[in-house]
Symmetry: C2
Subunit: 204 residues, 2 copies
Amino acid sequence: MISEPVTIPARRGKAVLVNAGQAIKIINTHGSQVVDTWAFVADKLTEFMSLEHARATMLRLRPQVGDVFRTNKRRPILTLIEDTCHGVHDMLLAACDNERYGLLGCTEYHDNCTDNLHAAMAALGLRAPETPSPLNLFMNIPWTEGGALSFDPPTTRPGDYVVLRAELDVVVAMSACPQDILPINGTTGTTTEAHFQIVTPGSA
Amino acid sequence: MISEPVTIPARRGKAVLVNAGQAIKIINTHGSQVVDTWAFVADKLTEFMSLEHARATMLRLRPQVGDVFRTNKRRPILTLIEDTCHGVHDMLLAACDNERYGLLGCTEYHDNCTDNLHAAMAALGLRAPETPSPLNLFMNIPWTEGGALSFDPPTTRPGDYVVLRAELDVVVAMSACPQDILPINGTTGTTTEAHFQIVTPGSA
């Protein structure tokens, strides 16, 4: 069974409870929207998906289908079970924040994924204990042999998606990244909505 | 002026206050010892060196001399001003913790860098608010073009060092990594002490 699509509004965040065994399908509806994604253990928010812990066992800079994301206590929390993007997701960079836009030249408040995370959790009556390094879905940050990174335009198409299976009861938070200065959401600086659906196995 | 060397005991941690403008020289005394390193703003421990934030402006997987590490609030905190190791330091992996050694087959408590961080801070009467992703000095984690990572033996020699200049008054915490299962401290599984010195410019 798959739920109706829920909107992650452009430049905003949304959080949802996903029970162990369920999965969340996160959809790049319009084709060029990065979605910063976090997962917190539902009954213990101080335990959360930690990419620096996950990398030690995934042993990859980008995820492949079958890869298990782990928490800061090394427990499996999400498994990537489908991906139409061939792993072009970023696991290296922090969520944008107002300070980041200041460094990019903004002199007034700019929507940002860090604030979106905390607002999305607050909308469920929850408080994220910190801002973990997010899984930046659909974000194209290639590396060179020498280790140089760059902010590249997306390689995704409308409707591209990932499916992440919850290994624990988790709160998944997502932010439709409002980055409109660097080209990670496309070179036109257009930011759009995205969508997610909850997949419950075993029921037709 | 440079202080006498201070010992980071084998398998243990040590923290020290470094004032803005001073630098810390961290020495791989015996040549094959990884030193996990953190930096916290002295008067605001909730602000600390954050590699996921630093990568967004460094734009590198490994640091080069001149690179500026930033905090989780995007402020410069440490600058790499000398490095005899040609940048072979890890910025990708979490500090080891007891859970990590459990995954590696240990059935009893194993010394670990996470506990060493918190013990080192506690020895100064301080409390680290979380365990940030550390700068793993002298740790050799290469990547492939396809993004595969591996835990490789060190490439360092006895006496190799880095010098990090403090851009703010900071507490630097270091842990002589007790990893003796994977070969990051050498293939013999030997863990050793390391040393640091505080460098104060402008005084002979």
